[in-house]
Symmetry: C2
Subunit: 399 residues, 2 copies
């Protein structure tokens, strides 16, 4: 009886919901999340920051705020994040969002209309796809290799589809963990300018580099002022606070603010204040220093387990940072089909590779593994279980 809008009928059920349900059993070791380590949450810092904010200036924190975001946070983002990434930004270029998720939503509302094309890396962050589609986009995948998005395929598709947006996660990409080379970052700016496509750079993992030298964001090479940059506090501080940041040219930010106004007026000021304190106090940097050994040990542990317990004919890209390992299993394995038995019988869960593709029949033998949320002994136990899922399947014992 209820007549819903077409746009909402385009959204399939969230695949993560099913995975989360399968992981909710406390005995299941979950490698499914994209969260920081629970042990790494700086709880006492957040308590202290809250007390300080609400003692010093409760009215600013508890009243309505500017749609663009809390001014101290925007200033601290420019000073402590943007500058270090060689991103040139004034206050008018910075908009605070309710998580980077809202960044994707607001950009989609502001740019996409029926018939527009959005190019994405293949594979890509699955949760962005229904948002692009909700606003009428056709999503076209672009090939990747070990250095990130393939520029030949990108140019072919820029030429062919005249896309409105290129959505890209250049650093420790979700799900592959691959980082785009500097040369390609520079070339992408040229290509996007040539074909008049706006780049939506999603960069939540930038500061989670444990190995090797940082490569600056695409936005830092953005001489055409054509990149919309998304940052997030969810992967370093805490996702529950829901704070992200957009940096873009003034004309774009002004339009995004109109969308933000209707979306939720402003992001929680308590959350924004905590993030601002996190940067201003210098705790951001010391927190990174503290979590790096923890994360690197977990990454190394998971890589060791893969090498030790898994067959040799697997494909693994060992990332230099981020939260995920992308693992290719023998071709005959359908990881989507095995997820239920993996969770329910073997008590270990992962995200099946196919959900990161537009054409979900691709890479059915891949899985995305989060290495940050479990301690090393749990990683070892979980990876043993996981290796058994696939060994048993291959040897045909249990199925």
């Amino acid at each position: 009886m209820v007549k819903f809008a077409d746009r909402i009928l385009k959204i399939p059920d969230d695949p993560l919901n099913e995975i989360m349900k399968l992981s909710s059993d406390r005995d299941v070791i979950s490698f499914s999340l994209g969260s920081p380590s629970k042990e790494a949450y700086p709880t006492q810092f957040i308590i202290n920051a809250t007390n300080k904010l609400l003692t010093e200036d409760p009215v600013s924190i508890l009243s309505y705020g500017l749609q663009e975001g809390y001014v101290p946070l925007r200033k601290n983002f420019i000073e402590h994040i943007a500058k270090k990434r060689n991103i040139n930004a004034k206050l008018e270029n910075v908009l605070i969002t309710t998580g980077a998720t809202q960044g994707i939503e607001l950009v989609s509302q502001t740019f996409i209309q029926d018939g527009d094309v959005v190019l994405v890396e293949s594979p890509t962050f699955f949760a962005a796809l229904p948002v692009f589609k909700k606003y009428g986009a056709t999503v076209i995948p672009v090939k990747m290799d070990y250095e990130g998005i393939d520029l030949n395929d990108l140019e072919t598709k820029l030429k062919k589809y005249n896309p409105k947006l290129l959505y890209i996660i250049p650093t420790f990409q979700n799900p592959t963990g691959i980082s785009l080379s500097k040369e390609r970052r520079i070339d992408i700016c040229e290509l996007a300018d040539k074909y008049k496509t706006v780049i939506l750079e999603d960069d939540p993992y930038y500061d989670l580099r444990f190995i090797g030298e940082p490569v600056l964001p695409i936005k830092s090479f953005d001489k055409y002022d054509n990149v919309i940059y998304l940052s997030s506090f969810s992967k370093i501080l805490a996702p529950g606070l829901r704070v992200g940041v957009i940096v873009a040219n003034k004309e774009i930010v002004e339009k995004l603010v109109l969308a933000k106004s209707g979306a939720d007026t402003n992001t929680s000021l308590l959350s924004q204040g905590i993030c601002s304190e996190f940067l201003e106090s210098g705790f951001y940097e010391s927190h990174l220093t503290e979590i790096f050994p923890l994360y690197l040990n977990r990454l190394n542990k998971m890589v060791d387990c893969i090498e030790q317990f898994f067959p040799e004919n697997i494909q693994m890209i060992k990332p230099e940072g981020g939260l995920f390992i992308w693992l290719g299993l023998p071709n005959k394995i359908d990881t989507q089909a095995l997820l239920q038995i993996s969770s329910q019988k073997y008590k270990v869960s992962y995200v099946p590779g196919s959900i990161f593709f537009i054409n979900q029949s691709e890479c059915k033998n891949y899985i995305r593994l989060n290495f940050s949320s479990n301690d090393e002994s749990t990683i070892e136990l979980g990876m043993k279980r996981l290796s058994m899922v696939f060994k048993d399947y291959i040897s045909g014992l249990s199925f």
Copy 2:
């Protein structure tokens, strides 16, 4: 060069931005806001609640949460709010939003497509209008009288336009302060069912009744399960936390959750946790008891000032609660045109009536005055200034 989507080009500049700018001078007494009293923020309670939440279960508060919202808050909302308002709701009927603003946004995404009609009271909450239009709606006004929306005009327009939604603020309506009678609330359910229109009931002021007997929400008479109910913590606890609530039938909530997922994944869990504690601790009730005399005194003070300082040929509806007084001045006064000089020369600001109308040439002689945000002596000073603005104008001295 940048090609924005048509939907974002439909949004005019936010009229409140201009008003806020004019009110930002510290010498200006602002009657423009829709906020609780700053003195009434329960700051110490919020500090204590934060400490408790982050000490007892930091992982639940700092990690990603359910899209539907924090379970304790949804349970407490049912127990402490919905039941008292005679609203029948299970967990599956309750979705937490990032302020009630997001409620309007999610409902619009989920229901409205190009060509749909949304009926609204005339006048109505101006910030809802661009959201309906962004998603393709034609907005049609329905007349009001002193008992709220006019049922004859409503039925005429239900018949004529076959609208998708009826957006209505039945209790202490924004901007008029009028409350819809019980009889009309019951009849509206029948009419909406007869014409197959969904009712979007926006009810942020329900508990701000200082005088008279409560009238239950339309949702409490919703035997056809056809009302989407929006509630908010912004007007009682603190707008800066950004927490609202939707109550609707399961089928609708499931679709709204798909929109919520893309919009911001989940509402700030710290904000949700604070609201949950606010209800569970019983502090909600005692806070209401504490703020009522404060608000009633301010309301009475503003009414006294109007009677004392303003000419006799004005129209005032004295509300029994809420945050606003709606004031009709002599016909020749254009309150929009006078706002700048009022703010800059007389140092007092208000919201001009015309922005609450679809046709902004209506009721140019009206203003909306907030009585909650200033103390009584400031109200007296501000109202004296305001009366001078209009007296000077009428006597032709200053213009």
